[in-house]
Amino acid sequence: MITLNWVLIFSAALFSIGLFGVLARRNAVAILMGIELMLNAVNVNLVGFWRFSNPAVITGQAFAVIVFAVAAAEVAVGLALVISIYRRRKTIAADDIDLMKW
C-alpha cells in the first residue's frame, strides 16, 4: 500500500541528485538543469502532501503552480545570463567564470 513516505523518499532522492548536479557540474547550463531537478522535487513534495493530507483543500496544488512560475522565471534569467557570459568570455564553465572572486 502506497504511503506518504514513498513520495517523500522519491522526492528526497530527486532533490539530492539535483543538488549533486548543481555542486559538481562545470557547465553552467547543466547547473541550471540541476536546479530544475531540485524544484521538481519540491513540487513532488507539495503535491504529495496535498494528496495525502486533505485533497479537498487545494493549497498544495496552488503552491506548486506558483513554483512553476518561479521556475520559469529562474530559467529564463539564468540562461540569458549564461548566454551573455558566453558572448564575452567564450566559456560557460562555472569554475572559469571567476571575474567577481575578489
Binding site: M1, I2, T3, L4, N5, V7, L8, I9, F10, A12, A13, L14, S16, I17, L19, F20, G21, L23, A24, R25, R26, N27, V29, A30, L32, M33, G34, E36, L37, N40, V44, V47, G48, W50, R51, F52, P55, I58, T59, Q61, A62, A64, V65, I66, F68, A69, V70, A72, A73, V75, A76, V77, L79, A80, V82, I83, R87, I92, A94, D95
Partner: protein, 168 residues
C-alpha cells in the same frame, strides 16, 4: 491497490535513473533529453497522485517550453557533438558526499514522522480540482496576491532576460 503501487515504483525508478543520467552525461544535448524524460516521469507521478492539471502543465511548461529553451541555450553556447574538458569540477567528491548525506538525512527525518503510516485518503467523485484551483487562484481570501505577483514576476523576468541576452 497493488497496480498503483507498482506503477508508482516503475515511474519513480525511471525518473531517478534519468535524473542521474542528467547530471552525469557528458553530451549536454543528451543530458537535456534525459531531463525531458525525468520531467515526464514526474508528470506521470502527478497523474498517479490525482494532480491532473499539474501533470498537464508540467508537460506543457517544462517539456514544451523550458526544455526547448535549454536546448536553444546549449546550441548557442557550446559545440555539443565534441564536448571537451571534464564534466565535473574539482570538488565533485565533496558534492557527491553532500548529496548522499542530504538524501540519508531526509529519509531519516521522514521515517521519524508519521509519514510511513499515512495512507491515501479517498477522493470524492465530484471533487473538481481544476475548478477548485481556479477559484483559489483568483479569490481574494486565497491566493490572488501570489497569482498576480507571479504574473508581474514573469513580466520582470521577461524584461530582464531580454535586456541581458540582447546584442548591444
Amino acid at each position: 491497490m497493488t497496480g498503483m503501487d507498482s506503477l508508482f515504483l516503475i515511474f519513480a525508478v525511471i525518473t531517478l535513473i534519468s535524473a542521474f543520467l542528467v547530471v552525469t552525461t557528458k553530451n549536454l544535448f543528451h543530458a537535456a533529453l534525459w531531463l525531458i524524460m525525468t520531467l515526464f516521469g514526474v508528470a506521470a507521478i502527478y497523474v498517479l497522485l490525482n494532480a491532473f492539471y499539474l501533470a498537464v502543465i508540467q508537460v506543457i511548461v517544462y517539456i514544451g517550453a523550458i526544455a526547448i529553451l535549454m536546448i536553444f541555450a546549449i546550441m548557442l553556447t557550446q559545440r555539443v557533438m565534441n564536448p571537451s574538458g571534464r564534466i565535473f569540477n574539482k570538488n565533485w567528491i565533496i558534492a557527491a558526499l553532500l548529496g548522499a548525506f542530504m538524501f540519508i538525512g531526509l529519509v531519516i527525518i521522514s521515517m521519524q514522522t508519521g509519514a510511513s503510516k499515512t495512507t491515501l485518503p479517498q477522493i470524492s467523485g465530484q471533487l473538481d480540482t481544476v475548478s477548485e484551483l481556479g477559484q483559489a487562484l483568483v479569490s481574494p481570501n486565497a491566493y490572488v496576491i501570489p497569482f498576480e505577483v507571479a504574473s508581474v514576476l514573469l513580466l520582470a523576468a521577461l524584461i530582464g532576460a531580454i535586456f541581458v541576452s540582447r546584442k548591444r
